[in-house]
């Protein structure tokens, strides 16, 4: 039983950065913008997050640094892709390359330093409950925040007027513009939200997961977050399921190896991506529901004045 609890704890820790980054990207894409620079924003968030926490000794300030860094990175994207109407795919890729280089530069002074990781919640009595105690009442703040965040995003998208307008921009920017909504301003805010989330997700890695900074430590998690948004078919509820599923596959394949289960580990590592491809195929075959990609996703919008 202890092993089950340990596995669940590892899964939650592995899933949290994916969930946070994907939540941000979901909002960005729902507004009609495809920002492929998640990996770049994450790694800069990781470098700045570690730097902030290391300089001040506060994990909270580190997390804020990560958020600000991710937001600044996303503003570069917004300037290029929205302000200057440059191709979004190319801009996003460039942002990733820039981020990888920039994070190495920022983090150069912190390499080899270590940090006391984010504290875990401890409520006497509750945290000690066998099996569920540490899972429910013994996580770090990032885990609880990520869940609150996705609930808030769901509520915003489906229960508020502002969320409806944001989705309208993503589905048909010409109509939204004609109705008088400031499409580019709304999209800029959505991109910034995506950047803030990516920065926080990146900061989670050196602040809570592996408390040190090394260049390239995000190791492709930004790309997984992007796949996750597609896997979730742009829906918050499915995003939660997907994030924990992706995390579970990662952790379980490691345990399977330890137990000597004869499934090739390479196959297990590829499973989340295979699942994403399958979901894409299913989505394109069942075009009746309203759950497919935002109609204006990735298209350039230049308002005529």
């Amino acid at each position: 039983m202890e092993l089950v609890e340990a596995i669940i704890l590892s899964v939650l820790a592995a899933s949290t950065p994916l969930l946070i980054a994907a939540t941000g990207e979901l909002v960005t894409e729902r507004s009609g913008v495809l920002n492929l620079g998640v990996e770049g924003m994450m790694i800069v968030g990781a470098a700045c997050g570690f730097g902030g926490a290391w300089l001040t000794g506060s994990i909270f300030i580190g997390a804020l640094f990560g958020i600000v860094a991710g937001t600044l990175m996303s503003l570069i994207f917004a300037l290029m892709a929205l302000g200057l109407a440059v191709n979004q795919v190319a801009t996003g890729l460039a942002l990733t390359i820039l981020g990888i280089g920039l994070s190495g530069l920022i983090g150069a002074g912190f390499v080899g330093e270590r940090l006391t990781p984010a504290a875990h919640l401890s409520i006497p009595g509750l945290t000690d409950i066998p099996l569920v105690g540490r899972v429910l009442f013994g996580e770090d703040a990032f885990v609880y925040f990520s869940i609150a965040l996705i609930i808030a995003v769901w509520w915003f998208l489906y229960r508020t007027r502002a969320g409806l307008i944001l989705r309208a921009c993503g589905d048909n920017h010409v109509s939204a513009h004609a109705l008088g909504y400031p499409v580019l301003r709304i999209r800029t805010l959505a991109v910034m939200f995506g950047g803030a989330c990516a920065g926080l997700a990146g900061a989670y890695l050196p602040l809570a997961y592996t408390p040190f900074f090394i260049p390239g430590m995000t190791a492709g998690r930004g790309w997984i977050a992007l796949a996750l948004v597609v896997f979730a078919s742009w829906r918050p509820g499915r995003l939660v399921v997907g994030a924990y599923l992706f995390g579970a596959v990662t952790i379980l394949q490691l345990h399977a190896q330890g137990w000597g289960v004869g499934v090739p580990s390479q196959f297990m590592s590829a499973l989340p991506y295979l699942a994403t491809v399958i979901v894409l195929v299913l989505l394109s075959r069942a075009r009746t529901g309203g759950s497919t990609a935002p109609a204006a996703l990735g298209t350039v919008f230049v308002p005529d004045r």
């Binding site: 092993l3 340990a6 596995i7 590892s10 592995a14 950065p17 990996e39 890729l93 990733t96 390359i97 990888i100 280089g101 190495g104 983090g107 150069a108 390499v111 080899g112 270590r114 890695l205 997961y209 592996t210 408390p211 040190f212 090394i214 260049p215 390239g216 430590m217 190791a219 492709g220 998690r221 790309w223 990662t250 952790i251 490691l254 345990h255 190896q257 330890g258 137990w259 000597g260 004869g262 090739p264 580990s265 390479q266 590592s269």
Partner: protein, 358 residues
């Protein structure tokens, strides 16, 4: 996708980091690095050796390095760039640079190349590598002595001979202390992903391992072992900072003596193509101080290190028994032949796991 992005990134880096020639009579020495110099592991150790060169030869040489150069075809461009910048001796420091190095070497017969851990050579291209399995043997002795649960955890990168021979050397040593010792092996399928390495360490510890060994490059596993109050070995570099009460020892890549010898040969005009596969005796690697263990275990480790250095102890002394219980053909007289170790693709007896791809 990520590979090609890195390639692009490297292309951009290339444009910026090759410094222009200054004094004409200096020997120019170039380096190609796989990772960033701040990786605290593989590339960092090569960088330390480069700095040792600068210290040793001072004004007589000028060094240049290119970091984050991806393995594969793109490396060829990076190597050629170093040639064009006037470098006469070029170290390419990862296995995957083998074919690109060879290609450039054929094109520029007057430039000398040194390729790490490969097996293809030419009259102007040497290779060099280390017998890390000797260090793994010592770690196996320590691990078996220190493990209370009798289960070791081993994080592998890829099932290539270098890693497999390390696992085998570890287990042969561990079994000589405790015949019933078990090892759990998890392949990370990456050299570098701190998060995944940490997850693998957690999984191993959750499954009962209390001594963690790794053949991946980041200190993440060391840190997890430290958090959980277990023991671990470092990799490539000194990692004791990440586990002051955790690190037992670490295999340290010490390239400096070799690099200094090769540059000296180049300066003297005596450089020639060679195949160097050095061990503890030739100082191609060293063991970090033996820490966090009682004196009797320390003595066992030191004795083994002395015996291996003196050539009295060989980790793969025949008979070596394979996983199926059959004796491995002994091609090297008293020990397995070097070729058998360099191409090792089997597990020894006592490892329950199945070698991927077998």
């Amino acid at each position: 996708m990520r590979k090609s992005l890195l390639a692009l990134a490297a292309g951009i880096l290339l444009a910026g980091s090759v410094s222009a020639a200054s004094a004409a009579d200096k020997l120019k020495v170039g380096f190609i690095y796989l990772g960033p110099i701040g990786d605290l592991g593989w590339t960092y150790q090569h960088e330390l050796a480069r700095q040792a060169l600068v210290k040793e030869f001072g004004d007589k040489i000028e060094t240049t390095y290119l970091e984050n150069v991806p393995e594969g075809p793109d490396a060829e461009r990076a190597i050629e760039q170093l040639v064009r910048a006037g470098n006469k001796l070029i170290f390419t420091t990862s296995f995957g640079y083998m074919d690109p190095t060879l290609k450039v070497a054929k094109k520029y017969p007057n430039v000398h190349f040194e390729h790490a851990t490969g097996y293809k050579r030419d009259k102007n291209m040497s290779t060099y590598s280390s017998k890390w399995y000797q260090g793994r043997y010592i770690q196996g002795l320590i691990a078996a002595k220190m493990s209370k649960s009798g289960v070791l955890g081993y994080i592998g990168s890829f099932p290539i001979p270098e890693v497999v021979s390390g696992i085998n050397a570890t287990m042969i040593a561990a079994q000589s202390i405790n015949p019933n010792i078990k090892v759990k092996i998890i392949w990370a399928n990456t050299w570098f992903d701190p998060g995944k390495e940490a997850d693998a360490a957690k999984a191993l510890i959750d499954q009962g391992a209390d001594v963690i060994m790794q053949h991946t490059d980041s200190p993440a596993a060391m840190q997890i072992a430290s958090e959980r109050g277990k023991l671990a070995f470092g990799q490539d570099s000194e990692m004791i900072k990440f586990g002051p009460k955790t690190q037992l020892t670490s295999i340290l890549d010490t390239w400096a003596p070799y690099y200094i010898a090769r540059v000296k040969a180049e300066l003297d005009g005596t450089w020639k193509s060679e195949d160097t596969w050095g061990g503890l005796d030739s100082h191609m690697f060293a063991m970090a101080p033996y820490t966090n263990m009682p004196d009797d275990v320390k003595k066992i480790a030191e004795d083994a290190q002395a015996a291996i250095t003196a050539g009295k102890l060989h980790p793969f002394k025949c008979p070596v028994i394979g996983q199926d219980g059959k004796e491995i053909e002994c091609k090297g007289g008293a020990n397995l032949a070097d070729g058998q170790i360099l191409g090792m693709n089997f597990y020894v007896k006592g490892i329950d796991d199945k070698l991927p791809g077998k």
